[in-house]
């Protein structure tokens, strides 16, 4: 067990590689109850969500979710999050565990429209069931036709008799669901899904596999690829940054940076020998230090050693040869397109 934002969480159950492969080929079950939930309600809920986040929440329909960023006035990340539209007057935000309290304070500090904001983390547990067999396993416990929930949509329904918000979202690069429910049902739902899934290759997964899966799928992790010094443009997240939607926190800075162009940008790389780059390793290009690795690890499904790093924008092209300081070695690596892994549809 490790301490993770005040939660005791297992790094692995049966082993990171086995858990990672189970999620890619069958299913993985993740207890992600540490994730934070913040609910915004009232006639001005949308205005507040629009003001503090960079994606355009006015485009969401009821029952739809999207990925977004909570922005500082500098256009950098307070956090990344999922925004779910429950109704015209109710938005449900899923945020990182370790940022929950500061996110809540940030949103409250910028609530000039009188929306109601609830720091609701203690009212929800969350389980994620991910992988090609996730839908089939979960469907046995629910009368909600899960296949009618499209990717990045959600529905309210029962799972094993428990009231849940069932979202077709995830952090693994696989199809799957994240379900939110009252904490007193956690053990019952965990056990039920584990029992039902074990005959189908489902494994319980810890933080280790959660990290390797998201890295293999080239998803950002707060504190690594993004933080309050990085902008969406730099992180390759321009697709969640809708400066045309109207005013929001950080918009002016983001427009200026876009016009000027970014100095550095997040890229993916593959190691060319057997050395493994880790977070913090120095990236050199043409023999000179040029950036740092934000995440690096073996990618168990691809059977390659991969990572992400910030490099000068001029050096971002796939195929660019870089070297990475790994202990006493300068390990050769090559910039490659992201995502490293994309599931077959």
């Amino acid at each position: 067990m490790v301490d993770f934002g005040g939660w005791d969480m297992p790094v692995e159950y049966s082993g990171i590689v086995a858990e990672h492969m189970a999620t890619r080929t069958a299913a993985g079950l993740f207890d992600v109850s540490h994730m934070g939930e913040i609910e915004v309600r009232g006639p001005h809920a949308l205005q507040l969500v629009q003001h503090v986040s960079c994606n355009d929440a006015s485009k969401l329909v009821v029952g739809q979710a999207h990925y977004s960023g909570l922005m500082t006035e500098r256009g950098t990340f307070v956090d990344d999050l999922l925004v779910h539209k429950i109704s015209d007057t109710h938005y449900f935000l899923c945020v990182n565990a370790s940022n929950q309290d500061q996110d809540f304070e940030h949103i409250r500090a910028h609530n000039g429209v009188g929306a109601q904001i609830e720091n609701a983390g203690a009212r929800y547990s969350q389980l994620a069931i991910q992988g090609p067999k996730a839908l089939g396993i979960l469907q046995r416990f629910s009368t909600t036709p899960l296949d009618s929930i499209r990717y990045y949509y959600f529905a309210f329904g029962k799972v094993d008799g428990v009231d849940c918000m069932i979202a077709r979202t995830g952090y693994t690069g696989e199809d799957g669901f994240e379900i939110y429910f009252a904490p007193e049902h956690s053990e019952k739902l965990w056990s039920a899904l584990l029992d039902a899934g074990s005959g189908h290759g489902l494994l319980p997964c810890g933080l280790g596999a959660r990290n390797t899966l998201r890295l293999e799928a080239s998803m950002c992790l707060y504190g690594h690829e993004i933080d309050d010094t990085t902008t969406p443009w730099e992180a390759g997240l321009g697709w969640i940054c809708k400066t045309a939607k109207g005013d929001f926190l950080g918009r002016d800075a983001l427009i200026r940076q876009k016009e000027k162009g970014v100095d550095r940008i997040l890229v993916g790389f593959e190691m060319q020998d057997r050395l493994i780059a880790r977070d913090g390793c120095v990236v050199s290009i043409g023999g000179s230090p040029a950036g740092r690795v934000t995440s690096g690890s073996p990618a168990p499904f691809l059977k390659k050693n991969v990572g992400m790093a910030y490099v000068p924008t001029a050096s971002k092209a796939p195929g660019t040869e870089i070297s990475i300081g790994v202990r006493a070695n300068q390990a050769p690596a090559r910039i490659v397109p992201m995502p490293f892994y994309k599931r077959a549809k």
Partner: protein, 130 residues
């Protein structure tokens, strides 16, 4: 579990002494803590290693771990099996997955290390406090 003819360090290495040859590896406890081993970096034949000093690296998916020499000497062989199948360290850490063999420069050094019973007690204490 822990062979009675090996000696052990608090950093979870083992050494088996036979004559002036020492065979060095990491313990079952160490492989379990590391998880899936994916890469092993060992010194070349002829390299000198010194008791208590880092001489190699074992990497798992989640972590990098430095390996300390339990005893001093000159490397006579590095285990080629581990470059092809580093995962052997997870399945046979006290046997086929030895790391290096060395010519001992001071064969009496090993007697200062823990025997199997002492090591077993050492890790039981660690597990109890974890």
């Amino acid at each position: 579990m822990y062979p009675s003819d090996y000696r052990y360090t608090k950093e979870h290495e083992w050494v088996k002494v036979s004559g002036d040859t020492g065979t060095i590896g990491i313990t079952d406890y160490a492989q379990h803590e590391l998880g899936d081993v994916v890469f092993v970096e060992m010194p070349a034949v002829g390299a000198k290693i010194a008791a208590g000093r880092v001489f190699g690296t074992v990497e798992s998916v989640k972590a990098v771990s430095e390996i300390y020499a339990p005893v001093s000497g000159e490397v006579t062989e590095a285990n080629a099996l581990l470059s092809a199948t580093p995962e052997t360290l997870n399945t046979d850490p006290h046997g086929a997955a030895w790391l290096v063999k060395i010519k001992l420069s001071n064969p009496s050094e090993a007697s200062a290390l823990m025997d199997a019973a002492a090591y077993q007690a050492f890790i039981s204490e660690k597990e109890a406090s974890a």
